[in-house]
């Protein structure tokens, strides 16, 4: 089964993944979040006790399913390759940056598309930052940026992250060790089995279609290639239809209850950092999970960097707050990015520039 050899098949993969996200939103995942990689890694980090923000702690079966779905389909179709050794710790830092930028904006590129489909104009503003970030990454690639070669390693090495994810699933099913929010976004979720199946299906289709939100923009800017963009269009159309049909489409800024803020500069800069770092790392947060599932230890380390970044965001007060409605006064309380988050976001962008112009392809040195 090859889903990446025509735009129609790629769009179909986007439609299937959009349906998965819509179903999970319908079954209880947070409104306007549905299937956010950054948010779900942050929640899972909370469930493991890596941070103590009580409203965002839940071992999201979607994240586990994505990695296991990619692992199973890549083994079944002989695409599993255990590789490692391409500037591993640099990738860890890029994972941290992707997470910090995402939590300043409040969502990964996938959630940005989902928020756009729900009429959230803040996400459309952030899209500009994401495109500029990707374009800056493309500029670095044209100047010879490279994280160097990965090498084939022991077959079992590439299976470590999938096994760890399976371990989290076992803990969620058979123990009370994991933390689980009783209020807030972490308490809103579809039934575990539905989330797991959704993650497995999403992971399998994402692996076969090479779905990547940073990659789609990168290919357009770099090679005027719209193949991967077809996936995003498919997903966006399904989510737009779902949001309109279920009355979840609310056009505007400062909409309470959807976990978003209207701090425009920081929406733009947050997603600028994400777009820039994702191009340097070779893929968006979703793509990193998929590559980790198909055997890349370098992507697995990037995923660990995202877990670490999520913990930093909540332990050091970097994450933005969403616009909310005060239950007593009925006043809208605007969400915002804290000072620590602003400083961290600027540092992240500077580190991206440092990485972009210090890692060169062998022949360009």
């Amino acid at each position: 089964m090859n889903l990446s050899d025509s735009k129609k098949k790629l769009a179909l993969a986007g439609v299937v993944c959009g349906l998965v996200a819509a179903c999970l939103a319908f079954m209880g995942n947070p409104a306007n979040m549905a299937f956010c990689i950054a948010c779900f890694i942050r929640d899972t980090a909370g469930a493991l006790g890596m941070h103590q923000a009580e409203v965002v702690q839940y071992a999201r079966p979607e994240v586990i399913g994505l990695v296991l779905g990619a692992f199973i389909i890549s083994v079944a179709t002989k695409e599993y390759r255990s590789t490692a050794g391409s500037s591993t710790m640099t990738r860890f830092v890029l994972g941290m940056i992707i997470m910090i930028g995402s939590l300043v904006f409040l969502g990964c590129p996938l959630r940005m598309i989902i928020r756009m489909s729900a009429g959230d104009l803040n996400a459309w503003v952030a899209l500009a930052g994401f495109i500029f970030g990707v374009a800056t990454g493309v500029f670095a690639l044209r100047r010879g940026f490279s994280l160097g070669r990965a090498h084939v390693t022991n077959k079992a090495s590439g299976a470590v992250l999938p096994v760890l994810m399976a371990g989290i699933l076992v803990l969620a099913l058979c123990s009370s060790l994991l933390k689980a929010s009783e209020a807030g976004p972490g308490s809103l979720h579809a039934p575990l089995i539905a989330s797991l199946i959704g993650g497995l299906v999403f992971g399998a289709f994402a692996q076969k279609s090479r779905m990547c939100f940073a990659g789609s923009m990168r290919d357009i800017i770099l090679m005027k290639n719209f193949d991967l963009f077809s996936v995003i269009v498919g997903l966006f159309v399904v989510m737009l239809a779902f949001n309109v049909a279920t009355g979840r489409f609310v056009l505007g800024f400062n909409t309470p209850g959807i976990i978003a803020h209207s701090d425009h500069l920081w929406n733009v800069l947050g997603m600028y950092a994400v777009g820039f770092a994702a191009v340097l790392a070779g893929g968006c947060p979703l793509r990193q999970l998929i590559l980790a599932g198909q055997g890349s230890s370098d992507s697995a380390v990037t995923v660990l960097g995202m877990f670490f970044g999520a913990a930093l965001c909540h332990n050091f007060g970097l994450a933005a707050s969403g616009t909310a409605l005060n239950a007593e006064t009925k006043e809208v309380v605007a969400g915002a990015v804290p000072l620590n988050g602003k400083v961290a976001c600027i540092i992240c962008i500077l580190v991206c520039f440092a990485i972009a112009f210090t890692h060169k392809r062998e022949e360009k040195k």
């Binding site: 990446s4 695409e79 690639l141 160097g148 770099l222 090679m223």
Partner: protein, 67 residues
């Protein structure tokens, strides 16, 4: 024959190197990549640019000869 050794490199480097090599190639170009999707990307790029790619699987990598 011109050779592009893109084994182990992340996307989109294999495709960028292939595009560079094809720009002024008067002879066949041999491209080596590690991942199946990279092989497919290189094949598609070659076809889109009026070339004929011939692929084969080697020991742990793929060879695409573009004529």
């Amino acid at each position: 024959m011109k050779e592009v050794d893109a084994r182990g490199l992340s996307c989109p480097e294999p495709l960028m190197l292939t595009a560079d090599a094809l720009k002024d190639a008067k002879e066949a170009v041999r491209v080596l990549v590690t991942e199946p999707h990279q092989r497919m990307n290189v094949e598609k790029y070659a076809k889109d640019h009026g070339k004929t790619p011939v692929s084969s699987e080697k020991d742990g990598y793929f060879e695409v000869v573009i004529k």
